[in-house]
Assembly symmetry: C2
Homo-oligomer: 210 residues x 2
Amino acid sequence: MKADYTLYLVTDRRAMSAETLEAAVEQALLGGCTMVQLRETGADERTFYDSACAVKKITDCYGVPLIINNSVAIALAAGAAGVHIGQRDLPAETARRLIGPDMLLGVSASSVQEALRAQADGADYIGVGAVFPTNTKKDAPRVSWDCLEEIRRAVRIPIVAIGGISMDNIAQFAGRGINGAAVVSAVIAQPDIRRAAAALREEMTKVLLL
Amino acid sequence: MKADYTLYLVTDRRAMSAETLEAAVEQALLGGCTMVQLRETGADERTFYDSACAVKKITDCYGVPLIINNSVAIALAAGAAGVHIGQRDLPAETARRLIGPDMLLGVSASSVQEALRAQADGADYIGVGAVFPTNTKKDAPRVSWDCLEEIRRAVRIPIVAIGGISMDNIAQFAGRGINGAAVVSAVIAQPDIRRAAAALREEMTKVLLL
């Protein structure tokens, strides 16, 4: 599946400024987010599934792919566009086997080895980070600019940078060959989610042209 | 799939007496457990999946079905015989849709309403409990004898009783129309797992004849 990774929203209820997750996602989509990953850390399966179904109604309205963090079963059950897995989730090749060839598979990678492995195992894209310090995922390993460049040279699949990306630093991606930026707090924790997303989308579109 | 629910082992690493889970399961099977449910509360997906693959090698050797607690994806990925879900996991009808008609689907139920719903949603059997106080799942609701009898009258699918079942109380199931007893600590926490399982199996076989 072809996807536009330009501004990739990752949700986080703990960091949310809007009253409901659906409202936050809708504002982010109105602002120009091109993809949504639903991350429900710590929620039980039923809550996560119900949330996936509710958010999918919004993403479907805007024609934007919904990716489910971690859970292949919920991605399949909710009819999501894909699933994003980390290094401690199911092996990527196993996830690919379960979701079939058409659903999107994203894999987190923070080294060249992990990136190459993800590509070989059938990932459609890799999430690389944390490129900047982040409060929303404190256990995330850090990825240096050198490492990001090495990964870019090593794999041919799209790269989405993640980790502490905001208006203060997004311009630093110019010329680095990434395909998109994943944002959490820089969108979902802002008082005006739509405006925050629109500003980041504009900036990121410029970055991708450089 | 036809299954023998007589003595249904549910694993719990925290309660384990053996050095490895594989060793504990093998001893339990040698003692006569007829089914195994792998429960890995709190483990990450990769650890759970690796554990499922390792335990499946043992259950396959003994021709005993392996059921995966909670995770449809791991059940599918590991090629398990089935999945067991609770009331806060994926809806049973959704789980059934994902696993297809042939894999076993177990659903926890602690009321007539939940039991009937599970049956309607495609459960192969229900786990009913906690029938006795239990330390391995402290948040489990209690089910009275009256409620168990009401459930037995209400559904036609097999019932596996669970919760604090041991040699001290297993004889109390005589004549109650259940199809098996699920045990955790009464097998897996015992110094001689094989002997503990054999004694429970013998007792439960008598109970099922009454």
